[in-house]
Symmetry: C2
Subunit: 184 residues, 2 copies
DNA sequence: GGCATAAAGAACCGATCGGTTCATTAAAGA
DNA sequence: TCTTTAATGAACCGATCGGTTCTTTATGCC
């Protein structure tokens, strides 16, 4: 049988995620990742194919966790789902700021292409889910166009969380937006 | 008198800016900056106090150039200014993507504090200018709150330019937004 | 005790990082 | 020519980077 493993692949991702989230891909060093995960560099290398792979897996893990929350799939579909998504989707799971996927968009140029693809697909899916919720409310305005506006707003909201100021105002801002979109 | 200088401080910033814009602060190396500016490393060090200072000066230079365009100060104040700001403010001056200041928000944690302050102040000023233009149109909705929504939308718009897809849709998206806000 | 597996840790690789110094060369005015 | 200033380029610094390998130690089952 041999000695059993002392860490799960998921447990490593869970601890590596905040590092990438906070530092970004370029600025996250293997040394920090070792310390955060508690797994030796050789151990990390045995489990993943280097830093790029670890980043992509962390990103996938993050998006899967977010999906499981079902913020935009809870029945009945509608504005309440959209509002909850805006309020809780940009608040990190691991005590981090903003949205990991949105933050990563900044580094697209130096990210492994696989990561860019993951981000692209997750945004497409997000847009589709938003549109479905909006469509359920039978707005006068085109649901797809409205979904794009909301997604762009969410993106901006996530980015603003990287700043020290203006956190308390974000809830009010979301309320303002929801008041607007409900009339469209 | 001695030998005259062969480069301007401004000319260096003009060429250093795209590097920071594209690569971000952490991922821009002095080697790249040398190559882009055409000024030797020792020359750069004689003119600036290292990489951090060069970044801050580039950021200041970028914002000053943007201000001089007067996108939000042209008379008469109103929606047309806001629309022009959204359409041209996020299109890089130097053939770059999105907004340099917005991109830099991602790196707040590792940026020189001075840079964070510059970003903060520029956003405050931007919000104020937006509010002034909106106020001029006498909307039913609170102008400051509306200005915040527009600024967040702009932030999201700038970030989305880092992605390969969806560029053509951004003009339509801005039109959609303007159609909405004009009714508020 | 054997055997198999897993983890830790250290050593090492070549490369690059930001930063500093200095000797050399070039271009101006006096 | 002499002085002054500017610019270059190379050398060097200590540190860190991502990545690789190997030895050692620990822990399980048979």
């Amino acid at each position: 049988m041999g000695r059993p493993k002392t860490f799960t692949r998921e447990a490593v991702l869970e601890k590596a995620l905040p590092v990438f989230w906070r530092q970004g891909f370029a600025d996250a060093s293997l040394h920090e990742l070792e310390h955060a995960t508690g797994v030796n560099k050789s151990g990390l290398y045995a489990e993943f194919n280097g830093k790029e792979d670890l980043f992509v897996q962390s990103l996938r893990y993050y998006l899967e966790r977010l999906e499981k929350q079902g913020l935009l799939t809870a029945e009945p579909l509608g504005w309440s789902n959209v509002e909850r998504f805006l309020k809780r989707g940009a608040c990190g799971l691991a005590g981090q700021k903003g949205c990991f996927a949105v933050n990563s968009m900044r580094e697209c140029a130096i990210l492994p292409p696989e990561a860019v693809g993951v981000i692209d697909r997750s945004r497409s899916k997000l847009k589709q889910l938003l549109a479905r919720n909006i469509e359920a409310e039978r707005p006068r305005m085109n649901a797809d166009a409205l979904a794009e506006l909301v997604l762009t707003f969410f993106t901006g909201l996530s980015m603003e969380r990287n700043l020290s100021s203006g956190r308390p105002s974000s809830v009010r801002k979301i309320d303002d937006l929801m008041n607007v979109v409900r009339t469209l």
